[in-house]
Symmetry: C2
Subunit: 329 residues, 2 copies
């Protein structure tokens, strides 16, 4: 059964996988057993050459060496295949974050995990994940009230990609920025009704192709349906050097607020927020802590798919329940 050290595998070695590798090294009770990749294993540059790298297609042959496999692929193409597949052989943790497809993904992973008696934590990270935890706790404690979620300031990969597909654009980054005045209204307990435009603005930093028409590019971005048309969008044209120098980080964050009234009508505001210098670095840290919970849940006989909403806070910690009560309660 459980060794005292938790043996972790990483499936997928992009930004998130690199973050998970570094986050495991911060945890005293975990050991990285191997990295699994669809690429040629010899092509991967790991920070420590003693870490074994395997072909993802050979994963099943390592099923007895790994307590929890952390899935670091993307939600669009990788996880819908890898989630159910790897749940055959491993307890898993993943960061599937396509909100509308979560119920369908849950079912697919749940069926395999139950059949093969594994425990799979899906959609772990900060949204879905820690933000979801706070939405549910806020609504449960203050049933008479409103949930608010603000994102940013931070880089949206989807919106940055959308900019880069505009004709005349050589490169670019998009920041989602919460509207401070709206946030203050919510904090003051005023329960405002906020339109999409009133909650966030979008700031774009764009490098033009030589000869491109800046006015037209700005117009094409600001009027793009779904991505920008419903927002107040600002486009800054900058040099390629400035883009690389000032905008290559992946900061993010956001705010979840529950504003409500307790039984006698008193205004009560619960706020949770994140200020992240690195979005993938933080998501990796969350995945690793939840790997510990996945293993504990499995050890107490649970199987099937679960989410952050099913995980008790104490299960994330390497400390015993007794020590947590003494030190942190």
């Amino acid at each position: 059964m459980a060794s005292s050290t938790l043996r972790i595998g990483i499936a997928g070695y992009g930004n998130l996988g690199r973050g998970v590798l570094a986050a495991i090294a911060q945890q005293s009770d975990m050991q990285l057993v191997g990295v699994f990749t669809r690429r040629d294993p010899s092509s991967l540059q790991l920070p420590d050459s003693s870490i074994p790298v395997h072909r993802l297609q050979d994963a099943s042959s390592h099923q007895h060496d790994i307590d929890v496999m952390i899935l670091c692929g993307g939600s669009k193409d990788d996880l819908p295949v890898q989630g159910p597949q790897l749940a055959q052989w491993f307890n898993t943790v993943d960061s599937f974050d396509t909100h509308p497809k979560i119920p369908q993904y849950f079912e697919a992973v749940d069926e395999v995990a139950r059949t093969h008696k594994h425990l799979s934590l899906i959609s772990i990270g900060w949204d879905p994940g820690l933000f979801s935890v706070n939405r549910v706790m806020g609504e449960s404690i203050l049933p008479s009230g409103t949930n608010y979620t603000f994102w940013g300031k931070g880089v949206s990969q989807g919106h940055s990609d959308a900019i880069r597909h505009v004709a005349g654009v050589k490169g670019g980054v998009q920041y989602t920025v919460p509207v401070q005045a709206a946030l203050e209204q919510v904090r003051a307990g005023r329960n405002p009704t906020l339109s999409t435009r009133q909650k966030h603005t979008r700031e774009c930093y764009v490098v033009l192709q030589p000869g491109a028409d800046a006015k037209r590019v700005e117009h094409d971005i600001a009027t793009m349906p779904d991505y920008f048309a419903d927002y107040d969008t600002t486009v800054h044209f900058i040099s390629e050097e400035a883009l690389k120098r000032d905008h290559s980080g992946m900061p993010h964050g956001g705010f979840v607020l529950r504003s409500g009234q307790s039984g006698h009508g008193d205004s009560q505001v619960i706020e949770f927020s994140l200020k992240l210098a690195s979005n993938p670095g933080f998501t990796a840290s969350v995945l690793v802590a939840y790997a510990r919970a996945a293993w504990r849940m499995k050890a107490t006989g649970q199987t099937g798919a679960r989410t952050a909403l099913d995980v008790a806070p104490g299960w994330l910690s390497p400390k015993s329940a007794e020590l947590l009560r003494k030190e942190l309660l």
Copy 2:
């Protein structure tokens, strides 16, 4: 076994008990079965005269009518007796908040609850409680980092009582106030080392007895060991009318921050905060949501004492796990 409506009892009818009564009315799946008091039941003024009031000493005869008993007594004298006693007959939830005595209180309740196959959630509220949840999650996700807790702005009952015991004082209220500059340093990820004095100030609003020496009273308050000597304390002298008019509420709140670095050294800050117009009103709302969790945990076979650290967020909600995944994840 479980009826579809959760049948709740309230033991103790002070500020907290009144808040719990009002909070139950906000929950669609709960029913208040009765209030239990050490006073003469006919002396209690309930908002709804149809609510049965019983003697606390007769509680055991109602053990089959109540799914969860919410204990609303004080931590100093009531709960150390009532917690273990009522765990004989009921699943219980309480707000025991004397931090250093929690391990001892846990043991006492745990033994009785295990023996009688009940589930007791102890030390539920916001600190201990929601703040503890955030301290544990923060430390688990970012093991390399520091926890910070700031309280206020809010009324401290203990410090207000201490003021009122100073010779020459007729009445008074004490507010604990977090130092904004310290909070901003933590938010900026600077990981400061903060002394007691650097984290909070204390503001006192005091009504003097006729003929009392204001200078002496101010000195006696500001130099009081444990309560004020280690803080920058401000004493405002006000009229009895102003005290009643401007300082009879029980606002409170505070901040739990985890400032740390993820695996590649990026600065990450997690913040949880509360801004409460009524401290007992909010604590009551938390107790009621956790009563639902207590019942669910019992229904899945758990017995003994537990804390907020053992409660998965989804168990607080009346919604099914499936609905939560769809709506709030």
